[in-house]
Each structure stands twice: as C-alpha cells, then as structure tokens.
Amino acid sequence: MRTFLMLGVLVSAGTLCVTESMRVSAAPAKTHSLSTAAALGKEIFSDPTLSASGKMACSTCHIPRYAYGPASAAAVQYGGPTLKSPGYRAVPSLRYILNYVPVWSHARDTNPIEQLTETDTSPAGGYTWDGRFNSLHAQALLPFLSPVEMDNRNVTELAKKLSQARYAGAFRAVFGKDIFNHPELAVEKATLAIEQFELQDKSFHPYTSKVDRWLDGKATLTPQELRGKQLFDDPNGGNCASCHIDELGANGAHPLFTDFQFEALGVPRNNEIPWNANPRYYDMGLCGPFRKDAASKDPANCGLFRTPTLRNVAIRRVFFHNGRFHSLREALRFYVQRDTNPAKWYPVGAGGKVEKFNDLPARYRKNVDTTDTPLNRTTGQKPVWSEQDIDDVIAFLKALVDQDEVEKEDGTSTLPARASLQMPNQGLCRTDPRCSTLGVRGVCHNDSIAALRLGAIESLIGRAH
C-alpha cells in the first residue's frame, strides 16, 4: 500500500494514434523487418489522404522524429475538415510505453476498512490520458473519426479512402481481395495493422538515451545529472520516482519512467485551449467528458489523468494534459511551487482568494493530490527544490532523451521548427506574453469559440469519443 505521487502528467496528451513501447531492448534504433501487417500499418500511420482535410495523418502530430510527439509548442493541435478545429488535449509522445500499458483497472482492497485506510487506490492503465481504450487498435480508430482530427464521418467513408490509398493493393493482399466490400472489417484491419506497427517498430522503443547507456554501464552521468537523479528520486524531495519509476526491472529491463497510474495534479486552466472559453467546459480526465463508462461516474475520479513517461520529455515544448506549460523548467517549478506559491499559478477569484485547481469544478478540487511530497506543502513554505535543483533535474531529464533526438538538438535535424498544421488561437492568447515568443501562425478561431456551447461540445464528443 505504498503512497503514490506523480510528477505529474508532465508530458502532454493527445489523441492521435497512441502508441507505447517495449522496454526490453536497449539496442539502438535501426531498420528491421516488420510483419506485412505492421508494414501496412506504417503506411496508414503516415497517410494524410485518410483525413477529411487530406492533410492530417497520425504522424502529423505524432512525428517520428520528435519521439512520436508534437514538434510545436501549441497546447493542442488543430484538425477537422479545414484544420481549424482545435483538439482537446496536448499530444503525447508515443515512445516507450505502448506494449506495457495495462488495461484500465481500479483494483481495490476487498476489506471496507482497508479501502478506507489504504493510500494506494489510484486507477491505472488504459490508452490515452483518460485510459478509456484497452487496446491500441481500439484507440487507433479514435483520431480517424474525431471531428477535430481526421474527421471521417463513419467507417464507410474511411474504408473508401483506404480502398483508394496508394497501398490499397497491399491491403488487399494482406487482408483479402474483397476486403473493401466489408467496410467495417477493412477499418478494423487497418487499426490492427497500426497496432502491429506500433508494437513492432523499434523506433517506438529505441532505448538509446544516455541514461540507458549508463544503466548498461556504457556511459557516465555527470555530477549534475547524478545530482538531478538524486533529487528526482528523493521521497522527501521531488519524489518523482514514486510514479515515474526509474530503476532497472528484475530482469534488467530498462525503466519506462511511468507506473501508468492516474493522478490529479491540479494543473491550472489553460486559456490557450479554445474549448476553455466556455466556463462550463471542464476536461476532467477519468470522469469525462470523453470517458463515459462506469469509471466516469465516480466523483473521486474527476481530475485524474494517466501518468506519462518522462522519456524524451526534455525535447517537448508542451507539458501536462492541457498543455498549460511550454518549458520543462516551468513545469518543474509548478510541481514544486504549486502549494508554496499558489498565486503564481492560479488566478485570484472575486473574493480575492487564489483559485487553486481552477481547471476543475470546485466540488472536485478535493481530488487533487495534496498529500504526497512535494504536493503537501503550504503557502509560504520553502519549495523542495531551488532553481539550482531544477537545473540539476533538467540535466537528468535531458539525459533521458534518445540519441536520435539528441542529434537533432545538435543541429542535424531536417525537420522545420514547427509542424505546419498547428493553428494556435491568437485571440485567446492575445494577452498572454508567451504568444509573442511562440512564433505561431494562423488565425484565432473566435468564431468557433463563440459558437461553443456545452451542448455543441457534447455533440462533437458524441460523434467521435
């Protein structure tokens, strides 16, 4: 019954074609053979013709060369028929967890007394930030049909696009010559092919970071990186490793830096997300609005999101499920100063009181973790980390970046600095000084925002989620 803390949902969450990785291979990523289905899945993963816009594929946001995460700092990505429909959550990296994500579960002690006194009661598992998919192929269907992503109206429309794709012949060869006469089956096979690609392709789990080499005794961490790891591990300090597990497995498997459990960190509301212009709209993770099963009916689940891996977190420019922060330093500062200096992170309400955890309805704010170190501090206390400490932790987290990403940082990347599809909302962030530094282009979707009412949101959600 250990207590759990989550450094929190540091990496962002999106919804496009989620994947996770194997944790057994420490070999560098290299070309290797895929099964025929997986090879087909690779084609589908990067095919923009499968979207209503003709410009969006899974790989548009889950960019292989960015650890299958987004290149941009936009809180959410934009999709739909004209690429002007904002997503709901930040896009996660697909590296390093996919085949180890357990099915969603919330095991409890049988004994009612232990249920009341247990401290380790978090739900765990499932794909996406709210864990509502128990398989990769089930999850893979979501972005194809989401109106804010690839925007196919139904599986028949998607199957038709598949039948016209450049790899349609290969698709028939793998799944049968009349496969496209059965649209639902064709789409199911397509998602299974994506699943196989995500599970088989070593680019999803290269294990080439400096920390991996260090764990194998083939590299040395600098004193600063080692100090960062100590700060990361310290149960009375950062306590990050209690959720972002960083020790070798019993069989020598390299760590995934997540325990797949859910946690409520109380990340501040992010007004960069257009949907948040509606004050009645709340993204409460495990209890909705997208998740609609029995778990979503439990008030204790409101505000909980699944803990992401921290591998390659240092190359990200968008953090937490709602993309509220755009630098690792700010994300870490929030983590250790959330409770010691709440006015820095949350707005002041009408009564002059700081509105902590303002991205949740008031009745659910009690779900936010205030018991695990360092989230158990009070206003005015000294944060567990100094700025120097944060430097050290960042140094350690940078050592978690895979070698191919490090090489890009060194200037060998051929990718543009930002993906072309992001359409941040100038209007909403007009007063936010960060906007001037983001270098984003596009227009603000004020029209869309004005039209957004909860009913409209639910309508959209009902179609794709």
Partner: protein
C-alpha cells in the same frame, strides 16, 4: 491384587506422570519438543488467504460456499483461529518463523528493507527494525532442510512480468521500493497480468532463504504444483501456497477484471482443492490447512467531520506483542482522503479472529474445534507434525496449544 500391590502401582504411575509432565515443560521452555500422539502426516499443504473475519467467511451468508459449506462438512473448522497482526506481512512471517511484528512488517514493507538487528530476546525474538531478517533467523523451511525433509512455496503469478519479479524466488532488490505492492493488469507484453505480491510470500523475508541457491528451486510459480503432485516422491513434505492478489481475496475488484474477495477465493479453492485431494501424497498421508492472514472486522463510523475506523486487533492464546512494537495502543492515525478526514484507531496488536479449516483423512468430517489458535500455534503444529524437535520464536511460547485430538478426530 493386594492393597500393597495397588499402592505400589499407583506410586509408580505417579512418578512416571510427574517425570513426564516435568520433562514436557522443561523441553518446551528450552525450545525442545516431544511429539504428542498425532497422526503420521507427512505432506502438509497450507493455503493462506487474505483479510477476512470468521463470520464473513464461515457465516451463513458466506460468498465462499465451497469453503464454508462443502469443505467445512468434510474437515475440521477451527472457530477460534486468530491472525497475529495487521497488516498482511507480519502474519506470514509469524507463520514460518515465529517472529513477531516490526513496525515495517506491520506496514507491509513498501520498501524491501534489510533488517537492522540490535539484539535478541531470550525467547528467540530478533530485536530491531526492518523487513528482511538476517541469516541467523531460521524458518520452518530451514528446519525442514536440516531434517532432510522437503518444502516449496507455490506463488501464483510470480514472474508473469519478468521485469517486475523473477519467476523463482521473486522479490525486489534489497532496500528498493517493492513494486509488487499493487497488482498489474494485463497488457500486450504481459497478457495474464501479474498479481503476485511479495508481501504474501513469507520466504522472501529471510536471508536464510533468499541467499541460498535452493531458493530458486523451492519458491516457484504455482503452475509447477500440478507437476509436483503427480507422485508422492515429487510432492514436498511442506507446501505453502499463496494465490495471487485476486484469488486470495485481497482485492475486489481485481486488476484483471475478476470479482475478487470471497468469490474469487471460492473459485480458486474449487479448482485447487480437488487437485490436492486427488494427489497421491494427500491420499497417503496429507493435511490441507486453509487459513487467513488477518481478520477484516472492525467498526466504521461516519460523522460530519469524517470517518472513524476502529480495528480491534484482537488476539488469543496470550499472544505477546514482541520486542519491536514500541507504540502504545490504541494507535490513532489520521489522513485526508478526497477532502475527508479518515481516522484509524487500532486498539491492540493482534490480527483478529479469522477461523481456519483443515482437511485430512485423520479428521472426522464435520469436526469443530473451539480451541484458541493463532499463527504461532500453526507453526508449532507444523513443527510437531513434521517431526521438528525445536520451536521457532513464539511457537515456543510456554503453554501454546498445537493441533491435537480436538482436530485429528479420526484414526
């Protein structure tokens, strides 16, 4: 016979009785044992389940009717069997070593910490704190090996996820966080999930076992039990069987979607008890013991300001607290959960009443014993049954009852 002869015979009998009693007391006080008249049982199977009080398990509304009714009708019900502590781990340790609770074992050793020994009591209790006892602390398994007998621990799910724990002798790295504290649900990489819990595997808390090469062949996955049961020769004299966190009733619902609790206990026993009953070793001279680590009873009171949980911590058999629990009872712990204050009051150090059920050809069907027993009694009984001439730890407590004629009611 003359009156003189009768007087002489009475004198001789009295002298014999005196020396017998004196000798018994003397041996017990020095940790030695003479076996009472118990059946020649040579194969014992212990199945330990989780966290149920007697009335829930064996009462008329039991959700485990196979245990509460079917098996009860053919075995011996020990109505006054008690756990020795809360939470789980200290109970398991008591069963195999006679060692009392430490603050860490009482809290289930979230960190698999080495035991720091500072002393030893005259009655064999190691003084100190921690989880993994030094090599000088012996267990029933060590006693059996010394006596030329065999043993095994059969742990369901152990090694299902090899990154979580080894498939044999599976435990966390010393002084590392125990990642087996919660069940792992199935995934693409681990299709069956992994609900092994180190804290329910008593052998993992003794250097005398985990440092020995035999650990890898003695503490194995439950899957191996069926093979071992095929003949008397391959069946260990002592088998300790730990179901996974679902099948032992600890969880409900379970990580794998099963119901857990007494329902999963029932399903597990319906599968495994017939397998044991039909094994050659059981048929020859077997004994099956089904017990629970600790009781689950207590009182829950809701109020405007929060919830107050009271756990009795009741014990029997003049159980001693041991040298390592320095807290004064009742112990009161409070914490906030979802904005609500939870207060837990533990009134004493015992493990509460659980009951136990025994099956053997030496037990008359429908036997009921109201003799008080606890996990130390179990250890003493196992030592006596298997012919070990020394009691470990509190199994050597003076006057402690072992299973006797109240249990073995059939010759």
């Amino acid at each position: 016979m003359t009156k003189r002869l009768l007087t002489a015979l009475l004198f001789v009998c009295s002298v014999f009785l005196f020396f017998t009693v004196f000798h018994t007391v003397a041996l017990a006080s020095t940790g030695k044992n003479i076996r009472p008249a118990i059946p020649r049982i040579r194969h014992v199977f212990v199945i330990t389940l989780e966290n149920k009080n007697f009335s829930a398990t064996f009462g008329p509304e039991s959700e485990a009717p196979y245990l509460a009714e079917t098996l009860r009708a053919r075995g011996a019900l020990l109505t006054q069997y008690y756990g020795t502590g809360h939470n789980s781990l200290d109970n398991y340790i008591a069963m195999v070593s006679g060692q009392a609770t430490t603050p860490q074992t009482s809290a289930d050793c979230n960190t698999y910490a080495d035991f720091h020994q500072t002393g030893m009591t005259p009655d064999g209790q190691v003084v100190g704190d921690g989880c993994v006892y030094p090599a000088s602390v012996k267990t029933l398994a060590n006693q059996l090996m010394a006596a030329g007998l065999t043993w095994k621990g059969y742990m369901e799910d152990m090694g299902n996820d090899p990154a979580r724990e080894s498939s044999t002798c599976g435990h966390p790295a010393l002084n590392a966080v125990d990642l087996t504290q919660r069940a792992e649900a199935p995934s693409a990489a681990v299709p069956e999930g992994d609900m092994y819990a180190t804290r329910h595997d008593p052998f993992m808390y003794f250097h005398a076992i985990i440092d020995a090469p035999v650990c890898k062949s003695k503490v194995v996955n439950l899957r191996q039990l069926k093979d071992d049961l095929r003949s008397v020769a391959t069946t260990p004299n002592f088998s300790f069987i730990t179901p996974n966190l679902c099948d032992d009733g600890h969880d409900s619902p379970c990580a794998n979607g099963e119901p857990g609790g007494l329902k999963s206990i029932n399903t597990f026993l319906q599968k495994w008890i017939p397998i044991l009953l039909h094994s050659p070793a059981y048929k020859q001279d077997g004994l099956i013991i089904i017990n629970f680590d600790e009781g689950g009873s207590g009182e829950i009171k809701q109020s405007m300001i929060g919830t107050v949980v009271t756990v009795d911590g009741a014990s029997c058999c003049r159980q001693q607290k041991g040298p390592n629990l320095n807290q004064q009872y009742p112990i009161v712990v409070t914490r906030l959960s979802h904005g609500r204050l939870i207060t837990k009051r533990t009134l004493s150090f015992g493990g509460d009443r659980t009951g136990a059920l025994l099956l053997s050809q030496y037990i008359r069907p429908g036997t009921v014993s109201n003799v008080p027993y606890n996990h130390y009694s179990l250890l003493k009984s196992l030592e006596e049954i298997l012919g070990i001439h020394e009691y470990l730890g509190y199994a050597g407590q003076q006057g402690l009852a072992a299973f006797g004629r109240d249990v073995f009611t059939s010759n």
